[in-house]
């Protein structure tokens, strides 16, 4: 069993339990233990764009110190927001030693962060380390006949150079879904923003965004949308369900990519948190023996 330090983030301990539980179960089947980082704190949630506000980088850098304390140099995350914030803060201090010196001086109760911790998204680990061939071999129940529309959103891919894949033409989720035997449904909204945290104050904007994304997937015959971010998932699922009934609002379930991975590997996909239940369509395609309420 290989071991990689793992940063869950608050969402995965709260409304996105299925995202994490499915990932842990699936990775175990692939011979990997995602070892939860001891004493992790909030990633910082939103990467601070103010170049002189170092206080906003304490949270992400402190998490990287925890990795350093383990004698490790890698940290894997599942949530796109956490991934973006941790990775960009790591880069922020990497490119300017004065910033890092100030942050280290402030956190005088900790060992200095030395730099060099690599922040990875699980999709990149699956692609670059586990490899699609090994995943294909481990598949117990190929997702044959299941039409899945990948949805990337913003934080997984941007800014260019820091994301897991090309921000305009990403392939990583398509390739994973293909390895699982699913039929990939391409659509033009896969890298469009879901409305993000406008969901807190302007649900109307988010509802219009997710209706367009879901509409594109439905129009092309998708059964499901695959996501990698609890906020995208919330918007595509809960906000879309709240807009249901309005003329022209499409309805399609969204699941985390880890849940499809777990399903194909014969592990528990931990479905059941979604407002738009994915279990009926999965049952109809023969992937769930029974629909549990």
């Amino acid at each position: 069993m290989k071991r990689i330090p793992y940063f869950p983030g608050c969402g995965l301990k709260d409304q996105a339990r299925g995202f994490e539980l499915a990932a842990l179960a699936a990775m175990e089947r692939l011979g990997y233990e995602l070892a939860e980082l001891p004493r992790w704190n909030c990633c910082g949630t939103v990467y601070s764009l103010a170049s002189d506000d170092l206080m906003r980088h304490l949270a992400p850098i402190r998490n990287l110190i925890r990795v350093q304390e383990l004698g490790e140099s890698r940290l894997v995350t599942l949530c796109s927001m956490c991934f973006g914030t941790l990775k960009r803060s790591a880069q922020f201090v990497e490119e300017d030693s004065e910033r890092l010196a100030t942050i280290n001086a402030f956190m005088d109760e900790e060992d200095d962060y030395q730099g060099g911790v690599e922040v990875l998204h699980l999709l990149a680990v699956l692609r670059d380390e586990v490899g699609y061939e090994a995943i294909e071999e481990a598949v117990e129940r190929p997702l044959e006949g299941l039409k899945v529309a990948p949805y990337y959103g913003c934080m997984l891919l941007r800014p260019r150079g820091l994301g897991v894949d090309d921000p305009d033409h990403p392939r990583v989720m398509e390739e994973l879904l293909s390895a699982l035997g699913a039929e990939v449904v391409d659509h033009p909204y896969k890298v469009e923003c879901c409305g993000s945290y406008l969901t807190a104050g302007r649900a109307d904007v988010v509802e219009a965004r997710v209706a367009a994304i879901a509409g594109a997937a439905v129009q092309r015959g998708a059964d499901l949308i695959a996501t990698s971010c609890p906020l995208c998932q919330f918007n595509l699922d809960t906000r879309l369900s709240q807009a249901a009934g309005r003329r022209g609002t499409p309805s399609i379930p969204s699941v985390y990519f880890t849940q499809l991975l777990a399903l194909a590997l014969g592990a528990d996909p931990h479905l059941g948190e979604q407002a738009i239940d994915p279990r009926p369509v999965l049952a109809a395609r023969g992937f769930l023996s029974e629909v549990r309420g």
Partner: protein, 227 residues
């Protein structure tokens, strides 16, 4: 002849005083003539009333501690905090549900935490204060309750927090929620209470009450003692 008492110089609210070495900050203030009516309580390190901040000569740190538990050092600059203003959110414990993260709902400002850890550094109980706020933020009530268990509500964390969080109220609510909803119930206790209410032990108790002294002593000496 009494050996000469070693004295140190401390600055209380900016004024220099010679006080005997080895006194606590609280006793040093009283030695200097202060009559403490606020910011003083049990004098034993349990009540949390005597939050104090101080600096030491040649050291940039602002230290925080309890006046009744900290001995004076030469060149110490001392200020006593008589009170920490901090609003406790109104709630009825029985109306809360631990699944809906009432910690974040009632104290939404905990989302302002930037993980600076200043609260932890201020805590005279050496609690991992930031860690329990972080646990609260993600709805881990049991962890927040456990990490804040030894909190004495002195308020120093809240006074130092740049995000203006009132940590000790969050920790207190976490412990109340834990006790009300999450702590495992003692099933054997409920069973025994039921037995008592059903009168299972009434006869035995009556017999003891009516027993003479000699018989009682005899029974006491012959009692079963668990190994």
């Amino acid at each position: 002849m009494k050996p000469e008492q070693e004295m140190v110089t401390v600055y209380i609210m900016g004024k220099a005083y010679q006080v005997p070495a080895g006194l606590t900050i609280m006793k040093a203030m009283e030695y200097a003539g202060y009559r403490l009516v606020r910011g003083v309580g049990c004098r034993g390190g349990f009540c949390g009333a005597c939050a104090t901040v101080y600096r030491l000569a040649g050291d940039y740190r602002l230290y925080a501690d309890l006046a009744c538990q900290t001995t004076v050092q030469d060149g110490m600059y001392i200020a006593q905090l008589p009170f920490t203003p901090g609003e406790r959110a109104p709630y009825r414990l029985e109306d809360l549900s631990p699944e809906e993260n009432p910690l974040l709902a009632l104290y939404p400002e905990i989302a302002r935490c930037v993980s600076c850890n200043t609260c932890t550094k201020a805590c005279p109980q050496d609690l991992e204060v930031m860690d329990y706020i972080q646990a609260a933020l993600r709805g881990d009530i049991a962890k927040a309750a456990e990490l804040s268990f030894d909190c004495i509500q002195c308020g120093l964390c809240a006074m130092r927090c740049p995000a203006e969080i009132v940590h000790y109220h969050v920790g207190q609510l976490a412990r109340r929620l834990y006790g009300a909803y999450l702590a495992p119930r003692a099933e054997h206790l409920a069973k025994r209470v039921q037995e008592i209410e059903q009168g299972v032990f009434d006869e035995e108790l009556d017999r003891l009450v009516k027993m003479g002294r000699e018989e009682l002593v005899e029974k006491y000496r012959a009692r079963d003692i668990e190994p």
